[in-house]
C-alpha cells in the first residue's frame, strides 16, 4: 500500500463528512475509484463535494476542465488537483 499524505487524509475526511458516508476516512484507498464502482458516488455528490472544496480550499471545479474525469478519478488525483489550484 502506498503512503498517504496529510492533504489526502484531510480530503478523505472532507469527502466522508460532506457526503455522510458510512466509511472510515482512513479506509479510502488513495488510488481507488471514487465514483461508479468504488465509493459509488454520483453527480450530486460531485456537486456537493465541489462546494465543500471551494469553501475549504478556494478551488472552483469546472466540468469543462479537460482533466475533470481524471481529477475525480481517485482521492490521490483529487488531492493533487487541490494542491495545485488551492487559494486557501
Amino acid at each position: 500500500m502506498s503512503e498517504i499524505s496529510a492533504l489526502e487524509q484531510d480530503v478523505a475526511r472532507l469527502i466522508v463528512q460532506t457526503l455522510k458516508l458510512k466509511v472510515d476516512p482512513a479506509s479510502i484507498q488513495p488510488e481507488a475509484a471514487l465514483f461508479g464502482e468504488g465509493l459509488g458516488l454520483d453527480s450530486i455528490d460531485a456537486l456537493e463535494l465541489s462546494l465543500a472544496i471551494s469553501q475549504t480550499y478556494g478551488y472552483q471545479l469546472k466540468s469543462s476542465d479537460p482533466e475533470i474525469k481524471a481529477i475525480f478519478s481517485s482521492l490521490r488525483a483529487l488531492a493533487k488537483a487541490i494542491e495545485k489550484n488551492r487559494t486557501k
Binding site: 457526503l19 458516508l21 458510512k22 464502482e37 454520483d42 450530486i44 462546494l51 469546472k62 469543462s64
Partner: protein, 448 residues
C-alpha cells in the same frame, strides 16, 4: 390543424442551438436531422441516450420523421435499460459517444453540420403521432410507460411559453442544468426553446462555474432552466453570472427563502413549474408570490373520488396527481405533500414500494426496507435502507442494487439489522422506522 412544424419560426440562418463547437443554425440542424433519418435502421423504437442536448434533439427529430418512438429511460442503470429494451423488441440505442451499451445495439449520432443546398424545408408532424415514452417507477418494480404524443409536447411548450411571456422572435437562449431525458428537461429545455424559435444551449452544466460559462457562451436574453439543487449551489458559491432574464425551476419544491435569495442574486424573477412525467408540466408560479399554483392554459384539475386528476385536451385520459393538493374556487391549488409511497430525491421521483421490491430481490436479502429521513440541511436528502441479510456485506448488496436502480436512490447508508420492527400484520409503521433511524444515528454520533 392535424399537424404542426417540427420546429418553431426560424430563418434558415438563425442559430437554433449552441453546441460545444459553436452555433448550429436552423438550416444545419435540419440537414443533420435529414441525414441521420436516412441512416437510421428501420425499427419501431429507439433509446435516445445522447448526452449533448443538440445531438439528442437531432436523434429525437430523426426518429419522429421515421415514425420511430423515442424511449426516455428514468435511469441509466444497465439493468433498467435492458429491461426497457426487452419490453420493446427490435429497439436500439442512439448515443453521441463511443459508449457501448451492454446488450443493446447502439448507434452513434455524429452530426457534422453537413452542408445543404436544398431550400430549408421544415417537415410537419401529425399531432396524434406517438413520439416518446417517458418511464417512471411504479410500485411493482416494473418501469411504467407514459406515452407522449407530438400534440401533448407542443401544447405544453406553447402553454408554458405563453405563461412565461416568451415571445417568438425575441430569440432568447435557454441554458439548462436538467437532463433532457427527464420529462421536465424535455419540455422546458428542448421543446420550449425549439417551439419558440429560441437558442438551445446543448450543454448540461453541473458546477456553478460551469453554469456561469454556459450562460456566458450565449448572447441576448438568457433563460436558465434548473433545479433548487443547482440554485442553492450557485448561491452557496456566490457565483457571478451574466444577466439572466428568467429562471425556471422544477423537479423539487423550491423554498421561498431560496427563491428570494436567487431573485436578489440573479436580479431576475424565479418561476417554478409543477408537473410529473404522467401528465407533463401542469402549473406555474412565481415562488416568492405565494404557495398557490396556477394551472397552465388548457389544464384543469378535477376531483375524482378522494384524489385529483389533471384533464387536458392532449391527454388521452385524466391523470391522477401524485401529491395531496387542495384546489380553490379559481382553480388554483396548493400542494401539501406527496402520496405516502412516493419520494423525491434530487428531482427524481420514485415509489418506495418499487425500491423495496428491488432490495428484496437481491440474493441473500431476507428482509429489507427503504426509508426517507426528515429533510435536513444538506443539498439533497438521501434514502437510507435497513436490511436483514446475514452473511452478505453491505458492499455486495449495494453492488447488486446498483445494476437495478438509479444511483441517486442507492441507500446512504445501508444498515444491517438482525430483524425489522414489523408489527402483527407484518407492516412496518413509519414511526418504527423513524425510531430505528434515530437509534442508528445516535449510535453513530456516539461512536464518532
Amino acid at each position: 390543424m392535424h399537424d404542426t412544424p417540427l420546429i418553431g419560426s426560424y430563418n434558415p440562418d438563425d442559430v437554433l442551438a449552441w453546441e460545444y463547437g459553436g452555433p448550429r443554425t436552423a438550416r444545419q440542424f435540419l440537414a443533420d436531422v435529414f441525414s441521420l433519418a436516412e441512416s437510421l435502421p428501420d425499427r419501431p423504437a429507439v433509446l435516445n441516450l445522447a448526452a449533448s442536448r443538440y445531438e439528442f434533439l437531432v436523434g429525437f427529430s430523426a426518429a419522429i420523421l421515421q415514425r420511430q418512438l423515442t424511449l426516455l429511460p428514468q435511469s441509466r442503470a444497465p439493468q433498467a435499460l435492458l429491461r426497457i429494451a426487452a419490453d420493446y423488441p427490435d429497439s436500439y440505442a442512439l448515443t453521441d459517444s463511443d459508449e457501448a451499451i451492454e446488450g443493446i445495439e447502439s448507434l452513434p449520432i455524429r452530426s457534422q453540420g453537413g452542408r445543404v443546398s436544398r431550400p430549408m424545408e421544415i417537415p410537419r408532424v401529425p399531432l396524434n403521432q406517438l413520439v416518446a415514452i417517458a418511464f417512471t417507477s411504479g410500485s411493482t418494480g416494473q418501469p411504467m410507460p407514459n406515452k407522449k404524443t407530438w400534440g401533448a409536447l407542443t401544447a405544453v411548450a406553447c402553454a408554458t411559453g405563453s405563461r412565461l411571456g416568451i415571445k417568438p422572435g425575441e430569440r432568447a437562449a435557454v441554458v439548462a442544468t436538467v437532463p433532457h431525458q427527464h420529462m421536465f428537461g424535455l419540455e422546458a429545455s428542448v421543446m420550449l426553446p425549439v417551439m419558440h424559435g429560441l437558442v438551445m444551449h446543448a450543454g448540461r452544466p453541473l458546477f456553478p462555474a460551469d453554469i456561469r460559462s454556459a450562460l456566458a457562451e450565449v448572447s441576448g436574453q438568457r433563460i436558465l432552466v434548473t433545479t433548487p439543487l443547482h440554485l442553492r449551489a450557485c448561491l452557496t458559491e456566490g457565483v457571478r453570472v451574466p444577466p439572466v432574464h428568467l429562471i425556471l425551476s422544477a423537479t423539487a419544491p423550491l423554498a421561498r427563502g431560496l427563491a428570494q435569495e436567487a431573485e436578489r442574486h440573479f436580479h431576475t424573477e424565479v418561476h417554478e413549474i409543477f408537473g410529473f412525467a404522467e401528465a407533463g408540466s401542469v402549473a406555474e408560479r412565481r415562488t416568492i408570490d405565494g404557495d398557490r399554483w396556477r394551472p397552465l392554459d388548457g389544464v384543469r384539475l378535477v376531483q375524482a373520488d378522494r384524489s385529483w386528476v389533471v384533464q387536458a385536451k392532449y391527454l388521452p385520459a385524466p391523470v391522477r396527481v401524485p401529491d395531496r393538493i387542495t384546489v380553490d374556487a379559481e382553480g388554483l391549488f396548493v400542494i401539501h405533500g406527496r402520496e405516502a409511497d412516493q419520494v423525491n430525491v434530487a428531482g427524481h421521483r420514485v415509489s418506495l414500494g418499487d425500491l423495496n421490491q428491488k432490495l428484496l430481490a437481491v440474493d441473500g436479502v431476507e428482509d429489507g426496507v427503504f426509508f426517507f429521513p426528515e429533510e435536513g440541511s444538506e443539498l439533497v436528502t438521501r434514502l437510507m435502507a435497513f436490511v436483514v441479510a446475514p452473511g452478505k456485506s453491505g458492499e455486495e448488496i449495494l453492488r447488486a442494487l446498483r445494476g437495478h436502480i438509479d444511483p441517486v436512490f442507492l441507500p446512504r447508508p445501508l444498515i444491517s439489522v438482525p430483524s425489522l420492527p414489523r408489527n402483527a400484520t407484518g407492516k412496518l409503521p413509519r414511526e418504527s422506522l423513524q425510531e430505528l433511524a434515530r437509534q442508528w444515528l445516535a449510535r453513530q454520533d456516539h461512536g464518532a
